[in-house]
C-alpha cells in the first residue's frame, strides 16, 4: 500500500521553546485548547488562516512550522510544479 501524504508540524516543540502552555497559546490564537492538542498530535490539519496566524504569532515562515511528509519519515521540501 503506497505511503500516504500528510501534513506534519513542529508546533509542540515551538511552544516548548517559547515556554507557552497550551492554554496560553490557545488563548492568544483565539482557539480552544482542544485545537492545540489536535494540532500537536497531528490529528487535525489547520485551515490556511489558522496556519498563517500561527506562523505570524511565532514570527517564523509557514513552511518551517508545517510541511508535507510522505510515510513515516520522508519529508517533501518541494512539490511538483505544473507542466
Amino acid at each position: 500500500m503506497p505511503d500516504k501524504l500528510r501534513v506534519v508540524n513542529c508546533l509542540r516543540e515551538l511552544r516548548q521553546e517559547y515556554n507557552l502552555t497550551q492554554e496560553k497559546l490557545a488563548e492568544d490564537l483565539e482557539v480552544t485548547r482542544h485545537t492545540i492538542i489536535a494540532l500537536e498530535v497531528g490529528r487535525y490539519v489547520p485551515s490556511i488562516e489558522l496556519a498563517l496566524r500561527i506562523a505570524t504569532y511565532f514570527e517564523r515562515p509557514l513552511e518551517s512550522i508545517f510541511w508535507l511528509q510522505l510515510g513515516e519519515g520522508q519529508v517533501l521540501p518541494t512539490v511538483k510544479k505544473p507542466q
Partner: protein, 237 residues
Amino acid sequence: MDARINQTTLFYRYCLWSHLFTAQMALLLTRMIRLITYLLPPYARRRCDLLILYLTIFANMIVRPRYVAIWYDWRVWLRSLVDVGVTCMMQLWGVYYLNQLPTEGNVVIWLLINLIVFFILNGLVLITMVFASFPIVSDDLYREPRDEFQKAVINEASGNTLRVVAVILVVMLTLYFFFPSLRINAPLHISILLFFARISYLVILTRLRWQSVIEQNELEQLEQGMSFNTEDLQGSR
C-alpha cells in the same frame, strides 16, 4: 514549563460533561418512552404524549447548557422551537393516522397550548439557571462561536449520523411505497430512527471527546518528561 491544568476548571469541565451526558440520556429516555407508548391504549398514549413533549423541552434546554450564557440569542429559542415543532408534528401525524383528536378538542388550540407551555418552561429553566449562578466557567463548552476544530468535530459527528439516518430513511420510504400498510406505524418507525440516531451521535461525540482527553494526558506526560530535558539544556548553556 508550566503544564498544570487549573483544577477548578477541570472539575467543572468533567461535571459539565457528565451533565451533558445525563441530558443526552434524558433525551434517550424520552425516545424510549415514545416507543413504549405505542404499546399502551390510546387514552394512556395521549397523556404520555404531553409528558414526552415537556420532557423533550426540558431535556433540550439541559443538553445545551452553554446556551444559558447566551439566552438572549434568538437562534437559541428558534432552535428549541424547531425541536418542539418537530415533536408536535410527529404527534399530529399519529393523531391523523390514528383518527383521534387531542383531549383538548381543537387541534389549533392544542398547538397553542403546547407553544405557551414551551415558552413558560423554557423561560423558567433559563431564569432558574441564570439566577442560580450556574457555573459558567471559561470552558470551550461556553465559548461562542466554536473554533474551526470544534466545528470540524461536530460536523464529522453530525455528518456520520446524518448519513446513517439518510440511508435508513431511504429504506423506510421505499418500504412505505411498496407496502402502504406500513405507513400507519410511521411515527413509531421515525421514533426508532431518531432514537438510534441520537445514540449514534452521542457515541461519536463521546469517543471524540474521550480521545481528546487521552491525547491531552499523553501530551502532559510527554511535556513533563521534556521539561527536565529543557532544564538540563539551559543549565549547560
